[in-house]
């Protein structure tokens, strides 16, 4: 039982972050806070993947003469790391687009509160 928690503390941490991120993204009204929540969520997933690639007693996946090539259990799995490089880039790009949208929204509506924005949007010319 203890092992279930201690042995997977990386995953538990990631899940905690995911819940925090989701909570922020969904429940918060301020656009920036939603954005932060979404980013936390995405980062948590990245942490999850990276945690999944680790092995007990293994080292970074760069060729080490002392260990050799055949003994793959001594190297951690590089694949999730490479996948996460892509995911990090995606996260950065998404944040960039989101910030651009937030700036435009602020310039047009002078507020970043979602409920106020929705009310004002409805009042504007509907089509």
């Amino acid at each position: 039982m203890i092992n279930f928690f201690l042995g997977h503390y990386g995953y538990w941490f990631a899940i905690l972050l995911m819940c925090l991120g989701l909570y922020g993204a969904i429940m918060k009204k301020n656009l920036i806070k939603k954005l932060i929540g979404m980013t936390i969520f995405q980062t948590a997933i990245i942490i999850f993947f990276v945690a999944s690639s680790s092995k007990w007693g293994a080292t970074v996946p760069i060729f080490d003469e002392k260990i050799g090539v055949a003994n793959t259990a001594k190297y951690i799995n590089p694949l999730p790391h490479t996948l996460m490089l892509t995911a990090i880039v995606v996260g950065v790009a998404t944040m960039g687009v989101a910030l651009a949208l937030v700036i435009t929204t602020y310039l047009r509506y002078k507020t970043l509160d979602e409920s106020v924005l929705l009310k004002r949007m409805k009042k504007d010319n509907d089509n």
Partner: protein, 500 residues
Amino acid sequence: MIIRNSAALIPLILLFTAVSIPIVALKKKQIAFFMVMIATSLSVIISFYNIFRVLKVGTIHYHFGGWIPPIGIEYVLDPLSSFICLVINVIALLVLIHSKKIIEMESNIKSVPYYALVLLMLTGFNGIVLTGDFFNLYVFLEICSLAMYGLISVGGKQAPVAAFRYLIMGAIGGSFYLLGVGFLYIKTGSLNMADVRSIIPHLYDEPTVIVAISLMVIGFGIKMAVFPLHGWLPDAYTYAPTTSSALIAPTGTKIGAYAMLRTLFFVFGVNYVSKTLHITDILAWLSAIGIIYGSIMAIAQKGMKRMLAYSSVSQIGYIGLGIGLCNPLGLIGAVLHVMNHAIMKACLFLVAGNYRVKLGHSNIFKLNDNIRKKMPWTTAAFTVAALSMIGIPPTLGFFSKWYLALGTIKNSSWIFLAVLLISSLLNAVYFFRVLEKVYLKPMSSNDLEEPNMSKNSKADEVSSSALIPVLILSVALIILGLLNTIIVKGIIEKMIPAGM
């Protein structure tokens, strides 16, 4: 070389053109449209070629860079993926022909970056459809999503907010999918769809796999706008500019549907998802609720674009229902409806765009029958598309409903049959309301005044580049309706996965 690499060419051409547009069109902005036309036309031609090749040869696997899967990434051309690829590219081509007029008119859209984003989005779509690798799908999913956020945000005043809300939901959806892929990778050790399919039967009882499927389905569900994950759709479609709505509405959600089909039936297996996990049952019920919900909300709308947006929620419910039924007829209905809805929605959004070009708005309650006199062809196309949405033969809409009805009967799901039929009637309510407005003289004084309408009734139709795509789409609805067996027997029946 072209023939050997045809599977990969479409995303590559589109990507390459997307990236080079800002450079090449730096001085002369008109080149951008020209390059877009070339790229999408090539995509359409290659899609046709792909379909014929697949029908002759069978499923084609293309290994990117020569790396053999499961280590390398592969593209898979089978009847399902090549069919959806074709539908997306043809619709995109027609909408982009129409876009020339719209982009000229909208002052706050810069044509060069806009077209670049459009091509990026199409790259994403085609990549999702053609790929055979889970993570590759995530990459293209994010590519097309980011492009979509951008395309939606250049609309009216409310557009950035709508785009932002879509961004939050879409990013969460993509992340859910990524998490699902992660779980799947942890258990199976592979990211390749065919490889995972061979490994999964050994892992049927693993809770990890069940969680993985659930997360992936939620991710696709957000993209597909299944009820109740559809919240981003109405605002996004309403406030986006016409071309964006017309590009995204027919195709964007179908990508989610395709991904769901692929994952549920072709990777995890029909029996597993339906009999053991009952995911398809949940999907069917949620879709049924979505069908009714979308129709009722559509009736309540005043603006045509918002009405069409809620109508989309309802139509996507049909596709979800077809997938959820898990039998061949339901699948035929769902895939045929993918094509059908793409054509209908593209036609309807383009008509709304034509009205905005000529009248400056597309508020239903401000329409009156001057429009029919001024824009007879556009209104005629609208009528055909509306009849198809309601499901009047011989349009294509009747036939996709017919197959779905047969599918529900085969499963003895009488409630779903009733839902299908009731929704046709609800569709009739909100479409005939618009038809009454444009064909008949104003009835009572609770219609809003329309000061901009000039009283002369000479025809003042939109220019041909804006009119011809609309007409082609509406004529296609009738022709494809009558000839639907060619498509059903020729392609769709070959898509039915083993185990149905």
